[in-house]
């Protein structure tokens, strides 16, 4: 009972911080849009995959990119909370460690999902403007995309929180975070199709959970997929479940 209000408390804090800092959210949207318009538009003049222009092909990948960066880097706030001792205030409350972790995952995911919702809206506007073709914005496709994004975001937020719980400086977090995020992004097939990859590359792409998130989203929004969408969903769900379990453990053994 008290754990539920506690989880709400942690979410309430993120929500309040979000309201106070709308500019941060806007700023975080600029980057993906630039990727879409510049990389997508630039390469789009010469590239086309499976009858889909490059901007449209790139769009689901950019959604995953946004989830990756925003959700994983959310974990840096745990390091700050440790530094200013706000974390102690939470840890000394009667809440269980598991509830604290769950509350943090929900809070961080909300943050990321709001940014993704804005990106979905921008995508819809782009398709009306004719910048993006072939992307379907039907209720079913959007619902399927949001499902994939929710599960993926929960897993990625957990990664950030796990790193954050073990780190003592924001700089250290930045380093480890980037070390993880960039390979996950580049090896996810967000930028290129994963058919006929060279042998040295394929294994890395196939063990990357982000690959399945991109593939699932591409199926939902473009009807293009390499794997069975159910396999995609199963992989990202397993990914999120394992990381939430690891995160709960990490929070129980967190150094202050």
């Amino acid at each position: 009972m008290s754990d539920l209000t506690g989880i709400y408390a942690l979410w309430y804090r993120e929500y309040k911080v979000f309201l106070h800092e709308r500019s941060r959210i806007v700023a975080s949207i600029v980057n993906p849009v630039l990727w879409l318009l510049i990389i997508g538009g630039g390469l789009g003049s010469v590239l086309e995959f499976g009858g889909v222009n490059y901007v449209s092909f790139l769009y689901p990948g950019i959604l995953v990119q946004c989830a990756l960066f925003s959700a994983v880097f959310f974990g840096v706030y745990i390091v700050w909370d440790k530094k200013i001792d706000f974390l102690k205030e939470v840890l000394v409350s009667p809440m269980s460690r598991t509830a604290i972790f769950v509350g943090k995952v929900i809070g961080g995911s909300t943050d990321t999902i709001l940014q993704l919702a804005i990106l979905l809206f921008i995508g819809w506007v782009f398709s009306l403007l004719g910048i993006i073709h072939n992307v379907s914005f039907t209720p079913f496709s959007v619902a399927a995309a949001i499902l994939f994004l929710l599960v993926t975001t929960a897993g990625l937020t957990s990664i950030g929180l796990i790193i954050g719980s073990q780190m003592e400086s924001p700089e250290g977090f930045q380093l480890i975070g980037s070390f993880l995020i960039f390979p996950m992004f580049f090896l996810s097939g967000a930028l290129f199709p994963i058919e006929n990859l060279p042998a040295y590359l394929a294994p890395f792409v196939y063990i990357n959970p982000a690959t399945y998130a991109v593939d699932g989203l591409r199926w939902a929004l473009l009807g293009m997929n390499h794997f069975d969408p159910l396999l995609d969903l199963a992989v990202v769900t397993l990914f999120a479940a394992v990381l939430i379990a690891v995160g709960t453990y990490a929070f129980r053994h967190m150094r202050l």
Binding site: M1, R13, W80, K83, S93
Partner: protein, 323 residues
């Protein structure tokens, strides 16, 4: 009557260093108890163990009747703590910080709002409730955190350096609250401090901790009486402190600065004898023994290495660059 806190052989080792070394102590209900000690003596480590934030290496303690090792969740529900470093979210307002606290402690909405109003009035921040903590002064922020520590009506309140870095007016203010709380609400208060005047004026009883062990325990009066009555400070060139040590009423005599410091039982009665032995005296000063003298006498005069982390003020500044 059951003690509010009973510590039995509490030990915390960091590698080979025993930060807290089989500490045993009982603190009664409604007491204002002070933990004094030089930097790195083990005060904060003790506090962190009693509030279940770090587990002891061995030994245990009961806080509010619950064991800190076996029942940490119940312990946490019955205590409040004000940390040494700022622990409020400065991107939120004072009210939002308190609401967050109420939610974390599972308080129902109407009770929560009532308590927020109560504690804000107590620390006189009612008219600043909707301002962001970022815009609070150090003293206001401290008061807010004190209010927060009290909001869920803990039976036991831990205060880690409650007035560190505050101006005299604010310190006086906070002492007043602490005294009132102990008297009116029967809350047991455990505080650590570096300020001896603070300990002297606030605490019913105190322990001087050094190297993880209790070096002295008693009321401030007892401790001062134990050391002696008054201190005579003389400036007498060419005089050796050893000449005073044979006098029966002298407890201690040593060189200090450009003079000699002599601890005596009763300066009013024995001043003349001291002056007789000193020879030519340029200046003399007499003052009663303070807790500071007791502290220095107990823990020695060497400078202690402080912890490597930054001070309270540095942390506030670092936090200002966040988000």
């Amino acid at each position: 009557m059951l003690p509010a806190i009973a510590i039995r052989d509490l030990t915390k080792r960091f590698g080979t260093l025993a930060a807290v070394d089989s500490l045993s102590l009982e603190i009664g209900e409604g007491e204002v108890f002070g933990l004094l000690g030089p930097n790195g003596a083990g005060k904060t480590t003790t506090l962190l163990m009693l509030t279940t934030l770090i587990p002891p290496s061995s030994g245990t303690a009961s806080v509010g009747g619950y064991d800190i090792v076996r029942d940490p969740d119940r312990v946490r529900a019955s205590i409040g703590i004000v940390f040494q470093d700022p622990s409020s979210d400065e991107t939120l307002t004072g009210y939002e910080n308190l609401k967050l606290h109420g939610l974390l402690y599972g308080m129902p909405a109407n009770l929560r709002e009532e308590r927020i109003n109560d504690v804000l009035a107590l620390v006189e921040l009612t008219d600043r409730r909707d301002e962001k903590v970022k815009r609070y002064s150090g003293g206001m922020r401290r008061r807010l955190e004190l209010a927060r520590g009290l909001m869920h009506h803990p039976k036991i309140l831990f205060l880690d350096e409650p007035t560190l870095g505050l101006d005299p007016q604010t310190r006086e203010h906070i002492w007043e609250y602490i005294r009132r709380l102990a008297q009116e609400k029967k809350i047991t208060i455990i505080l650590t401090t570096h300020y001896m005047d603070e300990a002297d004026r606030l605490c019913n009883r105190l322990a001087i901790i050094d190297h993880g062990k209790i070096a002295k325990l008693g009321t401030p009066q007892e401790l001062k009486r134990e050391l002696g009555g008054d201190i005579i400070h003389l400036r007498a060139p060419g005089c050796d402190p050893a000449v005073f040590r044979t006098l029966p009423f002298v407890r201690e005599a040593r060189t200090e600065g450009d003079g000699i410091s002599i601890t005596v039982q009763d300066a009013a009665r024995h001043l003349q004898e001291v002056l007789n032995r000193a020879g030519t005296v340029e200046a003399v000063e007499v003052r009663p023994v303070t807790l500071e003298d007791v502290f220095l006498h107990t823990t020695g005069r060497g400078i202690r290495e402080g912890p490597a982390e930054g001070s309270w003020a540095e942390k506030v500044m670092a936090a200002g660059t966040r988000r």
